[in-house]
């Protein structure tokens, strides 16, 4: 096995561990910290897959986003003062559903024969990707930025409604 493969296994294992913490932890702050571990390690996987730009975007976006998530979590659950139940009674069923889904995906992946040769990465060049993003898909990109803007404005309006009343 190549070094890259080992690195991938380590990253993937940590990412899955972090994800597990996210969904199993009883403390919401720890869940958020688990989430950031999972996201960072996934960013590492992106870099391994030669998609450095996406990996870096992932770092940039989620570093701040998760920090904000934690803040909100603190604000809303009063995690230290009040013992807060994060999970509902549907836990066993959810576990079943999750496990089934994982199994199904696993089976599907192993069973599928991909139409192209899939044991080699073909790096997408930075220029190539930029061309795709800003020329071929310029309109969706603009729309996406518009979505962000609208979401931002909407979020502000929703969160600040009191002031007008």
């Amino acid at each position: 096995m190549s070094v890259e493969q080992w690195v991938f296994y380590v990253l993937a294992a940590i990412a899955v561990g972090g994800a597990a913490v996210t969904v199993f932890a009883r403390d919401i702050v720890r869940a958020a910290l688990g989430l950031i571990v999972a996201l960072l390690m996934t960013a590492g996987v992106f870099v391994l897959l030669s998609a450095e730009v996406i990996g870096l975007v992932q770092l940039l976006v989620y570093g701040g986003a998760v920090a904000i998530l934690i803040l909100f979590a603190l604000m809303i659950t009063r995690a230290r003062e009040v013992t807060y139940r994060l999970d509902g009674p549907q836990k066993p069923l959810a576990l079943l559903a999750g496990a089934t889904l994982a199994a199904a995906i696993g089976v599907a992946v192993v069973g599928t024969v991909f139409p192209t040769n899939t044991d080699h990465i073909n790096p997408v060049g930075f220029v190539e990707m930029s061309t795709a993003l800003f020329q071929t898909y310029a309109v969706p990109f603009e729309v996406a930025s518009l979505v962000l803007l609208v979401a931002l404005v909407g979020a502000i309006i929703i969160a600040r409604q009191e002031e007008r009343q």
Partner: protein
């Protein structure tokens, strides 16, 4: 329809061990995020029963206790005490002694204000520079006092009736040289802080209090004058020889932290003016104690209250004598204690960061608050 946004107000204990409480003072802040909702000032950590001690010391020994009560502006405290005793005993202080007292008191005021400037800068967030500047200038004054009295802080230099001993040789020249240095020091502090935008933004309109409320609280000193009330014991109820000097009483406009700073800064300049005039007018020779002073001081029965303008406001000593060589009762009206009352009103509704700035702007001396 909208329910209360039910967040928990956190109580934050600022002090008694905190870098910005200027001594062992404690304030319990109830904060909502960064906003102060309530403030509970807790005093008494430095209570030593100074007033009770005064009752058990004779009049001369009491002077030393006054030094320790107000350890940043010792001379005004001494002055208030000895003036009370003089008033009870009917002593007439020689003119030369009065001038030396005024010089000491005003230099002491400058030293105290320098201390304030330094600590205040640190409260607002300057990394030590204002502190060092302030202490450098204060050190000059202290060195001068050391030469004059033999002590750096606890002078015990004033006596009922006059002064303990004659001033050192070259008093006048040394004082004038000191004044030149202090003027430079004032300009240093002025250049460092006064026109700094961040300093303005941090202190302007912060901790405002109106003139009416200030008078209702009985505030005095720079805190009162910053609200625009032109009231200064030296001007309005002149004692000692203050009526012979030409000086201004600076007042502020809004009663905020910036005004309190500016009033103190201007007061330092005025103090320099007073000292210069005093040095000019001072008799070059003459007695420093009245002719006939008894060896053991026994004051007639009676009671008397003598306020002076200390660096922090009206510092008054209330003496009750039943005859004998020590006061029967002695109470100190300390300016900080009264000024501290307004802290809550000034702070509630401001940000957490402002609370230390406001506290600093009151210029606390905890030993004087707690006594």
């Amino acid at each position: 329809m909208v329910a209360d946004f039910d967040t928990i107000d956190i109580n934050i204990n600022v002090g008694p061990q905190h870098p910005s409480t200027h001594g062992v003072f404690r304030m319990v802040l109830t904060v909502d995020g960064e906003l102060v909702r309530d403030l509970d000032a807790v005093v008494g950590y430095l209570h030593r029963g100074a007033e009770k001690l005064l009752e058990n010391q004779d009049y001369r020994q009491g002077i030393g206790i006054q030094d320790r009560t107000e350890y940043l502006a010792q001379f005004p405290a001494e002055q208030s005490y000895v003036m009370a005793a003089e008033k009870l005993g009917g002593f007439v202080v020689p003119e030369r002694a009065e001038y030396v007292r005024v010089i000491c008191v005003e230099l002491n005021r400058i030293a105290s204000h320098f201390m304030f400037m330094g600590a205040y800068g640190t409260d607002v967030g300057v990394f030590g520079t204002s502190f060092i500047y302030g202490f450098r200038e204060r050190e000059r004054v202290y060195r001068f006092f050391e030469e004059l009295t033999g002590e750096r802080m606890m002078y015990s230099y004033f006596r009922v009736g006059g002064l303990a001993w004659e001033v050192m040789d070259g008093f006048e020249e040394k004082a004038r040289a000191l004044l030149q240095e202090l003027k430079r020091g004032i300009n240093d502090i002025n250049g460092l802080l006064t026109r700094n935008e961040i300093f303005i933004a941090r202190t302007r309109h912060v901790g405002e209090i109106s003139a009416e409320r200030a008078i209702e609280y009985g505030l005095s000193g720079p805190v009162l004058r910053s609200t625009g009330v032109r009231w200064d014991v030296r001007k309005d109820e002149p004692y000692s020889v203050y009526d012979r000097f030409d000086f201004d009483v600076p007042v502020g406009e809004f009663g905020d932290c910036y005004d309190r700073y500016m009033v103190r800064l201007e007061e330092m300049r005025q103090a320099v003016r007073i000292v210069e005039q005093a040095l000019d007018q001072m008799p070059k020779s003459g007695p420093i104690m009245p002719e006939k002073m008894p060896r053991m001081l026994r004051l007639p029965a009676g009671e008397v209250y003598v306020p002076v303008e200390s660096a922090r406001g009206e510092y008054g000593v209330y003496l009750v004598s039943r005859g004998g060589n020590h006061p029967w009762r002695c109470r100190v009206k300390s300016p900080c204690f009264t000024n501290l009352q307004a802290l809550r009103e000034m702070t509630v509704g401001e940000y957490v960061a402002d609370s230390v700035v406001i506290l600093g702007s009151i210029d606390l001396v905890l030993s004087e608050v707690d006594r």
